[in-house]
Assembly symmetry: C2
Homo-oligomer: 340 residues x 2
DNA sequence: AGCAGTATTGCAATCGATTGCAATACTGCT
DNA sequence: AGCAGTATTGCAATCGATTGCAATACTGCT
C-alpha cells in the first residue's frame, strides 16, 4: 500500500486570521496572546476564528523574533561499542524523566546521540541558536569538550561527578557514598579479597572506586585489582571476569560499576563454576528495573534517576533564565538482594 | 560552587560579517553557500572572516525563510506505568538507531515522550512547523490518533503492525512470522499445553499471537489461555504467571510477547518451584541485549532494531521530499538459547 | 573611445510573529 | 458642541537568512 503524500498547506498564519477578521496582524497577535489592550469582543472573535482555522503558532518564527529557542538539547555522551549505540536501561529512564520534566516547562527536547562529535556540540546546538541550554549525560573520559561548551554558552548542565576544574554545573549521584555503602556491605558479608570492575577514567566510576577503596582501607583491606578497563556493557563485564579467572585470580567479592557489568560478571562466574553469592558476592550500581528479576536478584546501589532528570532540567531552566545555579549531588542508597 | 551565567552575545550574524567584509548580506549569504556567482576571491575572504568570527548559521531563521524545519519528531507512544516512563532496552536501541540515521541526513531529532497527549501531537509538532515529519514508535491500543495525524500532515511513519484501516506508512517486524517461529520451536521441544503472555490489544502483539495461534492449529493444538492483559513490563509478566499458577493452571510452554514479560514470567516460575526449561519452556520477543545473559539464557525472537530505525528514517525522509512510500515489514529470526 | 556581453554585487522583499510608538476612536464631562 | 482623557487599533521595524531582479563593474573587441 503506497501512502501518497499531499502538499501540506503550510497551515494558517496570523495574516490569514487578520484578513478574515478584518483587522491588522498586530491585533491578531495581541488577541491570541490575550493582551488586555485589545477589546474583549475583538479578542474573542479573533480567538474563535483562530480555532476555526485551526491556527497553530509558527514556533520557529516566534522564537526568531523572541530570540530564544524554547528548546533544550540533550546529548548522550557515551562512546559507541562496535558502531552500536550504547544501550542501557538506565539511560532510557533518564531520557524519559528529562523529557517529561521539560514537557512540564513547555520546552522541547532536541536529542543528539554521541554520533555528533564533541567538538561539534557547540556549533550544532548553541551557536546555531537551536537550543537555549544543553544537558549532557556523562562526562566521558575527558570533560574538555564540556568545559569548552560551557565557555561558549551560558546554560550547560552535566550528569556526572564533581570535578575540580569543571566550570559547568554538575548534577549527579553520590557515587562515593554508593561505593562506600556497597563495599562496607560486602565486607560485612565476609568478603576479604575484593575486585572492582569499572573504568576509573570515567569521573563517576572513579568516585565509586574511591568510595570502595576508602571503605576497604577502613578495614585494613586493599583491592585485588582495580584498574579493570571496563565499559558499561554486559559483554565487557563478562569478558573481564573470564579473563581474570583464567589468569587464576582469586577473589570473593565484586563491586561492579554498573548493573550491566555486574550481570556480565555473574554470567562469567557461573560459567566458571563459581556460585553467587556463596563463592563470590556481587554488588552492582544503578539498580536498573531488571535488577530484582535477575538470577540471583542483584544487590545494587540505587541512583534516583527520576529525581536526577528533574533536577537537571530545573538547573538548566534556571540558567536559561539567567539565574545562578549550583551543582548538586543526589543521595544513593544500597538495595540488598541475593547476589551478596 | 556557583556557576554564574554570562550573557550569550547572541553569536555572529550574516550582517556582522557583511559589515566586516564591506559587502552586502546577500553577498555574504551567497558566499557562505558557495554560490559560484560570487567571485572566488570575495568568497574566500568572506569565508575566512566567518571562520574567524566563529559564525554559525541561525537554523531557525534559515528554516523560516526556507519553509522547512529540517527536523523530525519522534514520539514514543507507550503508556506510562504508575507515572513512571516506560523503560525498555528495546526502545533505547531504537532511539539510538533513529538518532544516528537522522544525523546522517543532517536532520535534528525532536523527542517527545508519551507525556504529550495524542490529541496534541499535531499541534505540538506539525502545525506549529516544528517538524517536517513524525516517527511514532508504537501504535498503542488504538491507532486513531495516528490516523488523524496522517490526515493533517504528509509525513508520518509508525513502527508497528500493518492494520487494514491504517492510512499512514508502517514499518515493523514480521510479528506473525516471529510468533510462528517461536511456537513451532516450542512444539518441537515437546510443549503441548501452551500459554501466550501479552496484550493482544496492541496490534503488534496481536500479530504475534496470531502467528502463535496458527502454529498451534497446524498441530491441532490450542492455547490454554491467551487473553492475558499484560503490559510490556517485567512486573506484569511476573504477576500474571504467579496468578495463573496460583489458580492452578497447568502449562509446559510460554510464548511471551516481549523479553521483559518472559523474564518476569521466569521469575514467577522459579518462585513457584518450576524449572525452566525442564518444566516450562519459555520464549520471549525482542532479543534485548541482556537476553543471552539472563539465567537461563533467553530464547527469543530477534527484531532487527537498527535496520528498523534506519528504514523508519528513510521512509520519513522520502515522504518529506514528497516521494511516495510503501509500508515495510522486516524479517524476524528465532534465536534459540537455554530457556526452551 | 565606444560598445556588447559577461561577471559581480546589492536592493528589497520574504518567511511569521511580535511590539514600541503613533494614530484613531470613543467616552464622559462641562 | 467641544475637549481632555482613555480605550483600541494599526504602522512599521525587527529577528536572521535567502533570492529574484536590477544595477553596476569589468572584459575584450572593433
Amino acid at each position: 500500500m503506497a501512502t501518497t503524500p499531499r502538499k501540506n498547506p503550510t497551515g494558517t498564519s496570523i495574516a490569514d486570521i487578520a484578513r478574515r477578521a478584518g483587522v491588522s496582524s498586530s491585533t491578531v497577535s495581541r488577541a491570541l496572546n490575550n493582551n488586555p489592550a485589545i477589546n474583549i469582543t475583538t479578542r474573542e472573535k479573533i480567538q474563535a476564528i483562530a480555532r476555526e482555522l485551526n491556527y497553530k503558532v509558527n514556533t520557529g518564527a516566534r522564537n526568531l523574533r523572541l530570540q530564544r529557542s524554547h528548546t533544550i538539547a540533550l546529548i548522550i555522551n557515551a562512546e559507541k561499542v562496535d558502531g552500536q549505540t550504547f544501550s542501557d536501561p538506565f539511560m532510557m529512564d533518564m531520557i524519559g524523566a528529562i523529557a517529561d520534566e521539560l514537557n512540564e516547562h513547555q520546552y522541547s527536547l532536541l536529542y543528539s546521540s554521541s554520533a555528533i562529535k564533541p567538538q561539534d556540540w557547540c556549533s550544532h546546538l548553541l551557536s546555531s541558536q537551536r537550543a537555549d541550554g544543553v544537558i549532557v549525560i556523562g562526562q566521558g573520559r575527558n570533560d574538555e569538550p564540556l568545559r569548552k561548551l560551557q565557555q561558549e554558552s551560558n546554560a550547560v548542565v552535566a550528569w556526572g561527578a564533581r570535578l575540580d576544574n569543571a566550570n559547568y554545573c554538575i548534577v549527579g549521584s553520590d557515587n562515593y557514598l554508593g561505593g562506600q555503602l556497597a563495599t562496607r556491605h560486602l565486607i560485612k558479608r565476609g568478603c576479604t579479597r575484593m575486585l572492582f570492575l569499572g573504568d576509573v577514567e570515567h569521573p563517576e566510576i572513579e568516585r565509586r572506586f574511591h568510595g570502595y577503596f576508602d571503605a576497604l582501607a577502613e578495614q585494613g583491606l586493599s583491592s585485588r585489582e582495580h584498574h579493570v578497563q571496563s565499559a558499561f556493557s554486559i559483554e565487557s563485564g563478562y569478558q573481564h571476569v573470564i579473563e581474570l579467572l583464567t589468569k587464576g585470580l582469586d577473589f570473593d567479592g565484586i563491586f561492579a560499576a554498573s548493573d550491566n557489568i555486574a550481570m556480565g560478571a555473574i554470567n562469567a562466574l557461573r560459567e566458571k563454576g563459581l556460585r553467587v553469592p556463596l563463592d563470590v558476592a556481587v554488588v552492582g550500581f544503578d539498580d536498573i528495573p531488571i535488577a530484582p528479576y535477575f538470577n540471583p536478584p542483584l544487590t545494587s546501589v540505587r541512583q534516583n534517576v527520576h529525581l536526577g532528570g528533574k533536577i537537571l532540567v530545573q538547573k538548566v531552566m534556571a540558567m536559561v533564565k539567567g539565574q545562578s545555579v549550583t551543582s548538586e549531588i543526589i543521595k544513593t542508597e544500597l538495595v540488598v538482594r541475593s547476589s551478596s
